[in-house]
């Protein structure tokens, strides 16, 4: 659940500013966008798409500060590779090159760093991208948290592919590629020492091949928009699309897959899976007539095996995301107000 909401107009940064929800959006709106504004940035997609020498180049950057550094199903290294690849893939781009910047804390284990680097190398090789440049800085003990990683990526957007969160139209369908909440719960379970019968694994994975299948399966223009619901979860990603496209989105609760153990952990911790982070899932807004074909194509890929249509785009109350519950009633799915915190009762 979204818990007590914060005071706004803060004069200090609070953790919620990094949650990917409403406070993050406010920080962008109030601090960065007015100063950096330009047509590419103002599109507010997960990646910038710029034309260079006749090619459309996708360009994105992401920083990784996850704790614990090693978690079931991945580590900060593989996550840093997958996260940036996915930001490129959500623009329809074929990812090509990555940079890797490391901020290391004095005293950090070289062996752990070697494991993280090996994991990055493996993830990059598996995804067919190369890490072609990088940087290393060391900060004093106590001024970092072991290791922070920044990755920047570039890729090429194929001819005819134009995806943007502002392109959803009434009548379009919403597709989700698989069960939600795995990454956030894997991290939280490890952090809090919660143990389940079977370990919950992060879903961290590169999604560009899945995206390629989707684009091939659909006629040009049928895929309007892709988003990977990372921080802030499915709810924040859908709210962003609804706002940017000035449409409403309605989803069906019973169509949204959540693994039983993830649901159990959410029940225990008082969290709503719709707000929990994913690192290997995508949401797609697609033309209604192409939706079934796209879902069928996604299901051929292991990362889209549970793909399903979970809702549709409408034109009443623009900017609002609602969900039809299993009981047939309708409720709002709001953007995360701050950090999702466990409730006390």
């Amino acid at each position: 659940m979204v818990c007590p909401a914060p005071l706004t107009q803060r004069d200090r940064i609070v953790l919620g500013h990094g949650s990917g929800g409403r406070l993050s959006a406010e920080l962008l709106r109030d601090v960065f966008l007015p100063l950096f504004s330009n047509p590419v940035l103002d599109r507010m997609d997960d990646q910038a798409i710029v034309e260079i020498g006749g090619s459309r180049v996708a360009f994105t950057t992401d920083s990784f500060v996850v704790q614990p550094l090693f978690f079931p199903g991945g580590d900060i290294g593989s996550l840093a590779v997958h996260g940036t690849i996915n930001d490129l893939a959500m623009g329809g781009a074929r990812p090509l090159f990555l940079s890797a910047g490391f901020i290391l804390e004095e005293g950090f284990s070289t062996e752990a760093l070697r494991r993280i680097a090996a994991s990055m190398a493996e993830a990059a090789a598996a995804a067919g991208v190369s890490i072609v440049t990088g940087d290393t800085k060391v900060v004093e003990r106590g001024k970092g948290d072991g290791v922070f990683i920044n990755t920047t990526g570039i890729g090429i957007v194929p001819e005819g592919v134009r995806l943007s969160a502002s392109q959803a139209r009434p009548g379009d369908r919403v597709i989700l590629s698989g069960a939600i909440g795995d990454h956030g719960i894997a991290i939280l379970a490890k952090r809090e020492g919660l143990e389940f019968e079977t370990e919950i694994l992060s879903d961290s994975a590169a999604l560009h091949e899945l995206v390629e299948r989707m684009l091939l399966a659909a006629p040009a223009g049928a895929v309007r928009c892709l988003r990977d619901p990372t921080r802030g979860g499915v709810s924040s990603a859908l709210n962003e699309i609804a706002l940017q496209s000035r449409v409403s989105i309605q989803i069906e609760e019973s169509n949204i897959p959540v693994r039983d153990d993830v649901r159990g952990a959410c029940e225990l911790l008082g969290l709503d899976p719709l707000y929990v982070a994913n690192e290997g899932k995508l949401l797609a807004i697609v033309a209604p007539e192409a939706a079934d074909e796209i879902v069928a194509a996604m299901r051929l890929d292991p990362r889209g095996a549970e793909a399903a249509i979970i809702g549709s785009v409408g034109n009443e109350s623009a900017g609002m995301v609602t969900m039809r519950t299993a009981f047939g009633s309708t409720r709002i799915v709001d953007m995360l107000a701050g950090e999702q915190l466990p409730r006390i009762c």
Binding site: M1, V2, P4, V14, G16, E316, I332, D334, P342, C345
Partner: protein, 366 residues
């Protein structure tokens, strides 16, 4: 998922809703006392399944909501003292005091940590003998035993660097206040299942005897609520009033006796201020004198503070079931979860926040 899905079965829910519809012959106003129940009603849209004759009003049972502004201010002041590690359940961190919240205090350098149990605060105290570790003990009878246990353990272990800022409140005195009000509209109560798991339901039998209103001790899942409503409607339509136990898988009449023992050992009943309602006599717990060394209000001298609630806020009326959140002119405009004017908008389990989070569309369209 076992123990969850069977209480959320839409087919059974619709069947119970149909049963309620067949039984009702005239309007009834019912109150679910606990914020967790309010949350379920809104989240699953249970109230939309009910016949129009059944009006649900929402009770004061959200501990975060009713924690007074002054207590949050006191918490922030203690947290900001040098050498203090301030620990709390997560959802108290964002609750605004009169000027700031614990998140802000943390951003300004206070060592504020989220814990999942007061026992985790004890662990922190053992690991940091040179720091003073304070736990924010908030909640109803539900969370009080674990908090009491932490204080008891701290004393047994001879820990000298652990204390608790106690802001515990009790449900029956608040229900008595609602029932005694000349303006009261509530004709039947869903009593709080988790509170009764600890305390049993003898106290509620006393209330029924005194005020002759039906009460059903109810759970928190959609079917729990529908079944509780159905049981209340039967009592009302048949004209009798007693305590029934819908939540029998968790509650018995005596409650959890070891938990009650620890409560008696560590706490004594005291008057408490309720945010949005005001002072209620005998409506809370404070630490007994034997445990004064563990009472953060006595360990730290943070002085008195008086903070006024915004005048526009109608939360006193909302928390007593006299008004609905949407009756407030500030609702969703000047008062939102990001900028709450009053208690029920503060926590997700508050009635105003639940309406805002799940039902804004209905009011926006209307």
């Amino acid at each position: 998922m076992k123990y969850v899905d069977e209480y959320r079965d839409p087919k059974i829910a619709l069947a119970v809703a149909g049963e309620i519809r067949r039984k009702v012959t005239r309007p009834w106003v019912l109150m679910e006392v606990c914020g967790g129940q309010t949350h379920t009603l809104m989240r699953y849209g249970i109230d939309e399944l009910l016949p129009p004759d059944i009006e649900m009003v929402h009770g004061p049972g959200c501990p975060v909501c009713v924690t007074p502004l002054e207590m949050v201010d006191r918490a922030i002041r203690i947290a900001s003292l040098p050498g203090v590690i301030f620990t709390s359940y997560g959802d108290m961190l964002r609750v605004p005091g009169s000027e700031s919240d614990l998140f802000q205090a943390k951003a300004q350098g206070a060592d504020v940590r989220v814990v999942y149990s007061p026992m985790d605060a004890l662990k922190i105290a053992r690991a940091n003998p040179n720091r003073k570790v304070v736990f924010f003990g908030v909640g109803f009878e539900t969370t009080a035993p674990a908090n009491g246990m932490a204080v008891w353990r701290a004393r047994c272990e001879g820990l000298t660097n652990f204390s608790m800022l106690v802001s515990h409140v009790l449900v029956p005195p608040a229900m008595r206040l609602i029932l005694s009000s000349p303006a009261n509209r509530v004709q039947g109560f869903i009593a709080p299942g988790h509170v009764c798991t600890v305390m049993g339901y003898r106290e509620y039998e006393d209330l029924v005897a005194e005020f002759h209103v039906p009460m059903v001790v109810g759970g928190f899942e959609p079917l729990d609520l529908l079944e509780s409503i159905s049981m209340l409607v039967s009592q009302l339509e048949e004209g009798h009033a007693e305590v029934e136990n819908q939540y029998a898988r968790s509650v018995n009449s005596e409650g959890n006796l070891p938990a009650q023992n620890i409560l008696r050992e560590v706490f004594e009943v005291s008057d408490r201020q309720w945010r949005g309602i005001g002072p209620i006599a005998g409506s809370g717990y404070r630490l007994r004198d034997e445990y004064a060394d563990f009472d953060a209000e006595r360990v730290f001298d943070v002085g008195e503070s008086h903070a006024a609630e915004p005048k526009e806020c109608i939360s006193a009326l909302v928390l007593q079931g006299l008004k609905k959140p949407v009756d407030c002119p500030a609702f969703g405009k000047r008062c939102t979860p990001m900028t709450p004017l009053g208690a029920p908008m503060v926590s997700a389990e508050g009635a105003c926040a639940a309406y805002y989070q799940y039902r804004r569309h209905a009011t926006a369209i209307a």
